[in-house]
Symmetry: C2
Subunit: 419 residues, 2 copies
């Protein structure tokens, strides 16, 4: 199997100004091709370091991918270092990239100036993959069987040129066929999931790998991977995948890559059913997650963030006697909030939260308590949860728990015959 190294060039990484997200993205795509990432490193914008570290990485690997260090001001250092490393005898203008750059500048209302010419100037010993999303082209150098890909550092440019780079790698290296199968689960923590599928996991053949990928907002993703796939291996993977689905049934909310809000959007888009939300402790997070998906205006009517008790009472119609009797953080108040916003917006479904994200409890409930209610054709449902995180993560957990309750409710309502 081919080995790769990912190198980030740029002082801004080493001084901690920027978190590098490119390396992780590149690594997961290389993994998808069955290529092992043996190391990652960050180097400064200094020619001697670039030449010595990249030489070392080329020695130890088949593929080296660099990102960054190609900005208009730093341009010369990285390209010059690579020209030296690979023994270029001169420079040439890349006509296709020059045209792209002219068009990009034009769309910003700018003319191509002398100093812009340098961006499409490349060492004569490298191949070019054009970058349609930025002014620095991808440079491909090779020495014997080894390849170095030099990419820009801007994350959305890396994202957009990724497919072309991976295709080039696939053409030049043996990429064992690799198959990944994902299941999105919600409701059980990693340890509880692992307990539940213990027997299944122990009996996995050694060539099928299982990874637990937990995320506060989207639950635990289970990824089954088969490297160097054969036909028999593929069939076995499908069998194991099916038996895993059968064990986890209710915990699974999607196959492949997804999120709770995307699943809710899939359920409601194109139907005549609509949704609204009432948020107290989640402060707008549920609404922000739903409206992060394009096209939700077809079913999402809106929400009320009722941070103050007065808004709960005046806008959502929560009864002050309910608050008096059960407290603001109670299943009863959550239910009245859900009913209130549903009637206010005139939606088919609604979801509501009231709780304490922290820091600090309210005397009756500890920090991390949340009461969630869902309302709709089946009436009100509510539940109390207790989490133990900091404010930011508590808010995320509350929102995710609310979305999961809502998703389950919609599915139940759809499959329950109306009387």
């Amino acid at each position: 199997m081919a080995k790769a190294s990912i190198c980030t060039i740029g002082d801004e990484i080493l001084i901690g100004q920027i978190v590098d997200t490119n390396s992780s993205l590149l690594a997961s795509h290389l993994g998808g091709l069955g290529i092992i990432v043996s190391s990652m490193c960050s180097l400064p914008d200094r020619e001697s370091d670039i030449v010595s570290i990249l030489s070392r990485e080329l020695e130890n690997n088949d593929i080296v991918i660099t990102t960054g260090g190609l900005g208009p001001t730093k341009d010369d250092i990285t390209k010059k270092s690579l020209a030296r490393l690979f023994g270029a005898s001169g420079w040439r203008q890349d006509a296709a990239q020059l045209e792209i750059n002219r068009a990009i500048l034009h769309s910003r209302g700018l003319d191509l100036l002398e100093e812009n010419l340098a961006q499409s100037l490349v060492p004569d010993c490298c191949e070019v993959i054009n970058n349609e999303y930025g002014t620095a082209p991808i440079l491909v150098f090779h020495k014997g069987n080894k390849f170095l890909y030099c990419l820009p550092g801007v994350p959305h440019e890396v994202c957009n040129v990724l497919a072309k780079v991976m295709k080039h790698i696939e053409m030049h290296f043996h990429c064992p066929k690799t198959i990944h199968r994902n299941l999105m689960t919600f409701g059980l923590a990693e340890s509880a999931l692992s307990k539940k599928i213990e027997d299944w996991e122990t009996s996995l053949p050694p060539y099928i790998h299982l990874a637990y990928l937990p995320n506060t907002l989207s639950g635990v993703k289970l990824r089954l991977s088969l490297y160097d796939a054969t036909k028999d291996g593929e069939e076995e993977l499908e069998r194991r995948y099916s038996s895993l689905k059968a064990i986890l049934k209710d915990e699974i909310y999607a196959e492949g890559e997804s999120s709770l809000q995307e699943e809710i959007a899939k359920l409601l888009c194109g139907s005549t059913e609509t949704l609204s939300a009432a948020e107290s402790c989640t402060g707008g997070k549920i609404s922000e997650l739903i409206t992060g998906i394009p096209g939700v205006s077809s079913f999402y009517l809106g929400s009320v963030t009722s941070y103050a008790i007065s808004v709960k009472e005046k806008v959502l119609g929560v009864n002050d006697a309910t608050i008096e009797k059960y407290g603001v953080v109670s299943e009863e108040v959550a239910e009245e909030m859900a009913r209130g916003v549903r009637s206010l917006a005139g939606s088919t479904y609604s979801v509501a939260t009231t709780g304490l994200a922290g820091p600090g409890g309210d005397g009756m409930n500890p920090e991390g308590t949340v009461c969630i209610a869902v309302d709709g054709p089946l009436g009100s449902r509510s539940r109390r949860f207790q989490y133990k995180n900091d404010r930011k993560r508590n808010i995320e957990r509350f929102a995710a728990a609310a979305l999961d309750m809502l998703r389950r409710y919609i599915i139940e309502a759809r499959t329950t015959p109306r009387s």
Copy 2:
């Protein structure tokens, strides 16, 4: 000046499962001590790699900091590798960490088991800095003048032990006095800011460094740094800092580290004034940003996310004739939304957004258009903005622009004599 290397240990980084945020955090704190980070790298959970790469990094640097590779299952590999690298002759139980671990497990309702003892077992040749936030202590190895700090990988644990580690470094290395002075600006892009302060910047003495640190939500932070500070240098820094403030006046919203929502919270906390919001295209983002700050319930009453026109009309009282005449994305509708939510919540101030985050425009307005209104004692103010980003970044820019308008309005209202 001392040189440092930051090494991340763990397969989960190399397969792209996790984005490493620890290195960036550590680098910025080392920079604060005047220590140069010369390289960063990620290595797999394999003893031979750990020993060889850490040896190499120790050779080239004065300080090596590792994070990760200390989980209960991977425990042995990193600690064993370090014990080998530094020639430990045996292991010892760290009594203080053992007690901490017992307490942590107890708070989760668990007893300390045989297998938990391994977490507080450390090589006999290292010093221990206790970790109060997790079960793996920080190990400090040294060889001659060189130090290696072995930290856990969980970001919130790194965050919490950071101060202790930096203090240890300060005690053992000459840390040139470094002074940073920050100004938070909003409203001008990096290029426009740079144009505005061009003369000031050109005249900076070579020992004072300026960095532009842009962020979608909080604008451009300007950081002035003085390394190896002398008394004269410090005085000069203060003079330059003051003259920069004088040039940028209106663009500056805070000194030090801050965000627009924190500045709004500072203005309103402890006053009798209150706030509400009406969000269409920002979908809850403004509310989420404000409620991300603890203690805002003293002034923040809540918001209405009016995604559907029916909610704009029914809940916020927007006139259908206004929508008919000016379109939903208009300054007129934004103003009616702001007035509507202010009267509904009974707040002193309100802010409202209506726009198109994309993908796609509405025929009249292109994607990236937003109309923002603020309402309060000075009456309604509104403005139209045009951005060119993807949906996620457009929503962030809209929310930030709205918070900045609101902040400026509150300040103006405070300084305008009431008639």
